[in-house]
């Protein structure tokens, strides 16, 4: 009985992904994915940021704390940042953060950064589907979770 309940619960697991998308490339990429009617999971919550380097590590932790099972940061390709160099800083910052999350036991697969241009609607869908798939395998994130938070 209990086992059944668990499996049905697991089947019902719909990962929640929070995606921070930079206004100039990735957000437009998401838009394109939408207008081209590409399939990507509905439970990706997009948060628009002016530039990928606007994302503060706090945001990522907060997302996990408040219910995300996976977090994505998407910015312009290195070299294409609207503000010239923002995403180079993003790259360093989140390389270190990813390693640190791993160090305290939060699976690396739950967090990623990617570069998605305004023309890459299909890449946007692929990245989101990729993260979703990995997070699905890992199951719901229980670490770093505010226990008062209810889905």
């Amino acid at each position: 009985m209990l086992l059944e309940e668990k499996t049905s619960q697991e089947q019902a697991f719909e990962p929640l992904i929070v995606a921070f998308c930079c206004n100039w490339c990735s957000y437009a990429g998401a838009d394109l994915a939408g207008t081209s009617r590409l399939q990507y999971p509905a439970n990706v919550k997009i948060i628009k940021v002016p530039c990928s380097c606007r994302v503060n590590p706090n945001f990522v932790l907060r997302a996990f704390q408040k219910g995300a099972d996976g977090v994505v940061i998407a910015g312009c390709h290195p070299g294409d940042c609207h503000y010239s160099t923002g995403n180079y800083f993003t790259r360093r910052r989140f390389t270190l953060l990813m390693n640190m999350l791993d160090f305290i036991g939060i699976e690396k697969e739950r967090f990623t950064v990617d570069w998605i241009s305004a023309a890459e609607g299909s890449k946007f869908a692929a990245v989101m589907n990729g993260v979703l798939e990995k997070v699905h395998k890992l199951g719901p994130n229980r670490k770093m979770r505010d226990k008062r938070w209810k889905r």
Partner: protein
């Protein structure tokens, strides 16, 4: 060490008597023989209390920020790790070099009272004298000699810079480095090898102990912001949460992250933590990664070299290229 202590006292006295500086930051005896506390000296007479012994572990550099801001000219004693901290504060524009006179003290490593206690060497001791690596524990019933290295702080055993990297004058002979730098990362490597579950449990157990006294933040020479996110009541992480909201993970990760690339690995955070959380391991993990990914960089060595997170290279490693499709390569 007693001979050097006399010279240290003499130097402080002279600096204050001649008006060379308005304040001297040093150490004096606290309540117990193993208890040495940081102290501010304002007149030459007061310096009789000043001391330099095996328990002068407290880093004095952080105290400079307030005094220098008030416009005082300050003389301060710096060991190796304190000098790194000084450079970091300088790099972060928290103090000005002209207002500080640095008295360098090569450090033989400081004695951890907890280790003496554990080894049951504590009882009846009234004072500790030191000659090189031999400690003389002086008690009611005479003297007992022990080897110092067994009782030094862990951080001192893996110290890379016993000799100050910056100073105006050096008050003693340089000290040798005890171990190769790689030894610092032994525990980090051990943790890295664990499974995600094990790592999480290890850290959860550690973080749970935190009482959010903020001592680690207050002592840290890299945590020198005037306004701190953890003082913001609205942040939701300003104090120990009364429900399980993962506030402690948030606090520790963000604090470690805020000093990423600026932590000088002085080990003070772990030393002052009343809960005994090995905070320095988080910072060492970051230091290790920075060295591995962005090349040799040591915070506090040279304030003119930009910190690794304040700069970039076009060809930095990109661990996020799992989906390479189109775009510039």
């Amino acid at each position: 060490m007693e001979k050097i202590a006399a010279a240290v006292r003499e130097r402080a006295k002279r600096a204050l008597a001649t008006g060379e500086v308005d304040r001297v930051f040093a150490w004096k005896r606290g309540e117990f023989w193993y208890d040495v506390t940081p102290a501010v000296f304002e007149t030459a007479d007061e310096t009789d209390e000043l001391l330099w012994d095996s328990f002068c572990v407290a880093n004095l550099s952080k105290y400079l920020t307030g005094a220098v801001r008030q416009g005082f000219k300050v003389g301060v004693f710096v060991k190796g790790c304190d000098a790194l901290a000084f450079n970091q504060l300088l790099q972060d524009n928290r103090i000005s070099r002209e207002n500080v006179r640095l008295f360098g003290l090569p450090c033989p490593g400081m004695v951890d009272p907890e280790k003496l206690k554990k080894a049951k060497r504590y009882r009846g001791v009234r004072a500790v004298a030191r000659a090189g690596d031999v400690l003389a524990l002086q008690g009611k019933h005479g003297e007992q000699q022990v080897e110092a290295p067994a009782y030094l702080y862990d951080k001192c055993l893996v110290c890379r810079h016993p000799n100050p990297v910056v100073y105006d004058e050096l008050l003693a002979e340089p000290q040798p480095v005890r171990t190769p730098d790689s030894d610092r990362f032994a525990l980090v490597n051990e943790l890295e090898a664990m499974s995600a579950e094990e790592k999480f449990l290890f850290w959860q157990e550690q973080f749970d102990k935190c009482i959010r006294c903020n001592a680690c933040r207050n002592i840290c020479p890299a945590c020198s912001c005037e306004k701190c996110i953890f003082d913001n009541g609205e942040s939701g992480v300003a104090a120990k949460a009364n429900a399980d909201s993962c506030e402690e993970q948030f606090f520790h990760l963000i604090r470690a992250y805020h000093v990423a690339g600026r932590c000088v690995d002085c080990g003070e955070c772990s030393r002052v933590c009343p809960a005994g959380i090995p905070l320095h391991l988080l910072n060492r993990k970051i230091i290790k990664d920075i060295q591995a990914i962005y090349g040799d960089y040591e915070a506090g060595l040279d304030p003119n070299v930009p910190a690794p997170l304040a700069t970039y290279r076009l060809d930095d490693a990109d661990p996020f290229d799992g989906h390479q499709k189109g775009g510039k390569k």
